[in-house]
Every structure is written in structure tokens, then in C-alpha cells.
Symmetry: C2
Subunit: 319 residues, 2 copies
């Protein structure tokens, strides 16, 4: 378990190293939903998502000799870029384990931050085993994507900043993949204002946390096909799940169509580029799934903005 103090300590560590992202409101979004919505723009964060918060907090908590040996992470997404940038910022080095068919752009971005990339074959190799072997062989520290107190506390700083800018919130929504963002944010929110209700959002095909909450224990699902690639996890984390169980009002489920609709709305009306995963919380609000009265004050974390231009062009064509 982590506490508000852990999140506060992370916030002090991160200050002036990463962006304090703006909170933006959009009149037409409010008119469309009937709520007063506050967007915390982690799509404008360094490396394009909230992931730098946890990664940098983790690296700053390593000893000097650990940092000198460097770190390892496995990810084909935003965590890879977050760890790569965090390592460069503290003068450490990162090895990122990526599938050999990882998107060219994400590969280039990760290498652009100075990380070494090690490929594996998704069909025949187990990335966790590879990362663990790397850890054992090189003495590098593993930076897990969510199941780690330093990662959770770092991600929670997004909610802490949002609450400083918007003191009264009736609800806060974040996407839920492994649950690191929500574990940190809900810990901070519940400690500051118990009345604020926390809703996680999952794609309806990636409903592992929804199912786990129903059953009262962590369950695994087959690989989900949702376009929200940042929340395609098969089960909630071992450390994150009990925190979500304790803090969450519930999980809201949305379709891929809802996600594309929200992404288009945010882009064309709010002028903000979010990736599909970054749009899921807004999609839950737009789709009318939020069980709150009109006029409620709702915080929405736009978690990231890294999207391939060709895929984005495709979203713009649909209407």
C-alpha cells in the first residue's frame, strides 16, 4: 500500500524536472455532457504521457550505484519512452525490451531518448523472462510498468496537481490498464477528499479489472482487441488491485467506437491530440456512462498523446 505522503514525496522529487501539465476546460464538451469537466493534460507531459512520473520517481529512488548500473523495462508503449527519458534525465542508462514488430515511431522515440532496445519474438519468447535474465546478467534494476510502490506514487502526482488547480471535484476518471495510474491517483484523492468518487475506465473487450472487481479477486482475460493499446492488460496488478478494490466506485466500460468519437471530439473541438487510451475517460463521460447528476464537477485524466499519424488520419476519415 502507498499513502498520500508517498505521493507528496514523489511530487517534490519530480518538481521542475517534468511539466506541470495544464488543466483545460472545453465549453462544448460541457454542453455535450451536462457536466463541468476538467481535463488534466498528460498528453502534454514530457515523452507524451503520464508514464514519466512513475518512471522518474522510481529512478530518483534508486541508489547512486544502482543508477550507475542502469535499468531495464519491457514495453512497446509509453512506459518505454518514460523510462528511456527518465534514465537520460538522471544520467543513468536504460535497456528496453520490445517486440520485434514494435511500431517504428515508438522504437525511434525510445532510441531518441538514448535507450538501448533489445528485441524479442512475441510468438516464441517471453518478454518478462528476457527482462529478468537481463536484470540477473547485468545487475540493472527492473522498472515495472505499474506493480511497484514508487511507480504508483509517481503516477499519483497527476491527481495531486489536478486537485491543487481544481479544489472541488465530485469525481475523477482515469483509464485502467495495469492500474498504476489509478492506484496512485485514488490514493491521493481519497486522502484529500473522501467525497470525491473514483471511476476507472476500461474498453469493454479489455474488462479484466471490471471482472476482477465483480469476482472479488484478480482474473485474467485473453488478449483484448481494443484500439486502446495502453490498457490491453490481461489482469490487474497484484499490488494495484487491492488499492483499486478499496478506492473505486466502479469501472465504466466503453466501446472502441466511443473511444474514436471522444478522440475526434477532443481533437476537433478541444484542439488536443490524445491517443486512443488517452481518450477513454473522456469517452466514458461523453457516452453517458457516468452515474452522476448534471452539473457535477468531473476530473478527467487525458493520459497520453502518442499516436501514429497514419492511424490518426484514419480516425479523421470516419464520421
Amino acid at each position: 500500500m502507498i499513502t498520500l505522503d508517498d505521493v507528496r514525496a514523489a511530487a517534490r522529487r519530480l518538481r521542475d524536472r517534468i511539466h506541470r501539465t495544464p488543466v483545460i476546460t472545453c465549453r462544448s464538451f460541457d454542453e455535450a455532457t451536462g457536466y463541468s469537466v476538467f481535463f488534466k493534460c498528460e498528453n502534454l507531459q514530457r515523452a507524451g504521457s503520464f508514464k514519466i512520473r512513475g518512471a522518474l520517481n522510481k529512478l530518483l529512488l534508486l541508489s547512486e550505484s544502482e543508477r550507475a548500473r542502469g535499468v531495464v523495462a519491457f514495453s512497446s508503449g509509453n512506459h518505454a519512452q518514460g523510462v528511456a527519458l527518465a534514465a537520460r534525465m538522471v544520467g543513468s542508462s536504460a535497456v528496453i525490451v520490445m517486440p520485434s514488430d514494435a511500431p517504428r515511431l515508438k522504437l525511434a522515440a525510445t532510441r531518441g531518448y538514448g535507450a538501448e532496445v533489445v528485441f524479442y519474438d512475441r510468438q516464441t519468447e517471453d518478454r518478462e523472462a528476457i527482462a529478468r535474465r537481463l536484470v540477473a546478467e547485468s545487475g540493472r534494476a527492473l522498472v515495472p510498468p505499474y506493480d511497484d510502490p514508487a511507480i504508483m506514487a509517481g503516477q499519483g502526482t497527476a491527481a495531486l496537481e489536478l486537485m491543487e488547480d481544481v479544489p472541488v471535484l465530485d469525481a475523477l476518471l482515469t483509464p485502467v490498464g495495469g492500474g498504476g495510474l489509478m492506484a496512485g491517483c485514488s490514493t491521493a484523492v481519497k486522502a484529500v477528499d473522501r467525497a470525491t468518487r473514483l471511476f476507472g475506465v476500461e474498453a469493454e473487450t479489455a474488462n479484466d479489472t471490471w471482472l476482477s472487481l465483480q469476482k472479488g479477486e484478480r482474473v485474467a482475460i485473453p488478449p483484448p482487441p481494443t484500439i486502446a493499446d495502453g490498457i490491453r492488460n490481461l489482469s490487474p496488478g497484484e499490488l494495484t488491485f487491492p488499492i483499486l478494490q478499496k478506492n473505486l466506485e466502479g469501472i465504466l466500460l466503453i466501446s472502441d467506437e466511443d473511444i474514436v468519437g471522444a478522440l475526434r471530439f477532443l481533437l476537433l473541438r478541444a484542439k488536443l491530440l490524445v491517443e486512443p487510451t488517452g481518450a477513454v475517460s473522456a469517452a466514458a463521460v461523453l457516452a453517458g456512462t457516468l452515474p452522476l447528476p448534471r452539473g457535477s464537477r468531473v476530473g478527467v485524466i487525458l493520459s497520453g498523446g502518442n499516436v501514429d499519424p497514419a492511424i490518426l488520419a484514419g480516425f479523421l476519415k470516419e464520421s
Copy 2:
């Protein structure tokens, strides 16, 4: 001529009625250019551009009986939406004169703010004559797009806010169409800090102000083909030009290719949607046209974000 006091008075009038837009920085833009760039995000402004500033200031300066009679404007672009929204906000009414082939989306947005739209045929009719007839017949006040002290002062509030957030700027760049934005911004900037250098930006095919500054008097150009539709003016304004002559360091000229490159960079790296006109100042910086030493602190006004999704999809395809 307008003064800093006019801009300050406009800022007091506009406060809490429109967005105080955020100032955003982007590490990768700074790395690409060698400058420290501060983006004033008027693409996130109400109605999607800075135009609401001048329009609302103008409407708030009308007498109650003038507001009751309503206003007229001619525009197929952001000024139309700014005037329509401003009129709705103060309980007035707006008639907007638009070409019969105006983009469907801009027409819908203008009507969405409650304005009445009157069409004219671009080939056979003169829109100014139509607007003036409307003014004569209806007693409505004309809201000009730039050549009006209240409009210039309102637009200048964007620079005032930017200087409050970023006290030291070596330079400020804005797009120059009719010159209203730059007239207001340069007035405010030069009164607050004479050392800040002002650069207007034009598309190389829409270089009417560049030519006028060379010649020392207003010259007219044929209709320019640039994709930056907000700055396709044929000559600088009668009131704006002397102010630009006095305050500007110069005009920077950029190609349409530079504009698309900057739009893509801002979208994919900074995650901000700007329209082609909104990208021109950033394009001038990216293209290396700014005659300032590395490390200079540069303010850039991202003037608007209203762009058609199909056109945007086209920009994303090019690479």
C-alpha cells in the same frame, strides 16, 4: 492609435468571459530550434481562435441600444465565429455575411452560436457593399475584422496575458493578415518592454504587409493561394499598418510546406491542433528564419485551431 491602457481596459472587460489560455512549452520544439519557445494557445480559446477577444471587446463597448439592434460582420472564417459567439454572450444578435460556397463546418459553427447567415456570390457580389447595406437598413453596428481600435485592443490582450505568464521575452511572433492581432499585441509589448522584438509572419505568397513595409506605404496584392486562409488579405489595414510600421522588427516569410511541417510538429509532438494560419509563427521559428541568437526566449501566438478533419487527414498523410 491605441495604447497599453486600451489593451488593459479590454483585458478587464474580457476577464472571466473567455478563456485565459495556457502557455505551453515543448522540449522537442526547443531542441529542434535552439530557442526557448512559449506557445500562447489561442487555438484553445473559445470559438477556437483569438478572434473572440476583439469581437467581444467591441460588443461590450457598444451602448445598450446598439447591442439591442445587433451587429453585422462579413467573414467566412474565425472572425465569423468570434462575432457570433460574442453576440450570443452579451445578449445581442449577429448577422454574418458569408460566401455561398463557405465551408460547411464553419457555416454550421457560426449558426451554432445563434447567428443568422446571409450569403453572397463571390463572383458577382461585393461582400462589403452587402454588409454596409445591411448596416444602413437594419441599424446594426458593423464589427470589422481588424481595422477598429476596439478590435485591435481586444486582440492585444493575448500578448498581455503571455507577458504576465512569461515576464522576459526576447521576441514575439504573430501571424499577420489584416494586422489586428499584431497591432494590439505589439502595442502592449512595446509599452511593457521596449527590448522585446516583434516579428510578423506571412506566407510568402501573401506578402502584402512585407511589401508594404518595404515600400513605406500600403500596397495590394492579387488573391494569394496560401493554405493559411486566415491571412489571405490583399493589403494591411488603414489603422493597423502605421502601428505595424512603428513596432515591427520585420516580417518573416514562409512557404506552405513550412506551414504544414509546423502544423504536423505541433500536432504530433506538442499534441496541439492548430489550423494552418495558427501554425505560421511556429513555422517561421522551425524554418530558421528568426534572426536571433540561440537560447533566445521567443513567444509564439498559436492563433487558432479550426481546421476541417478531411484537410487535416491530408496533412497527416504527407511526409
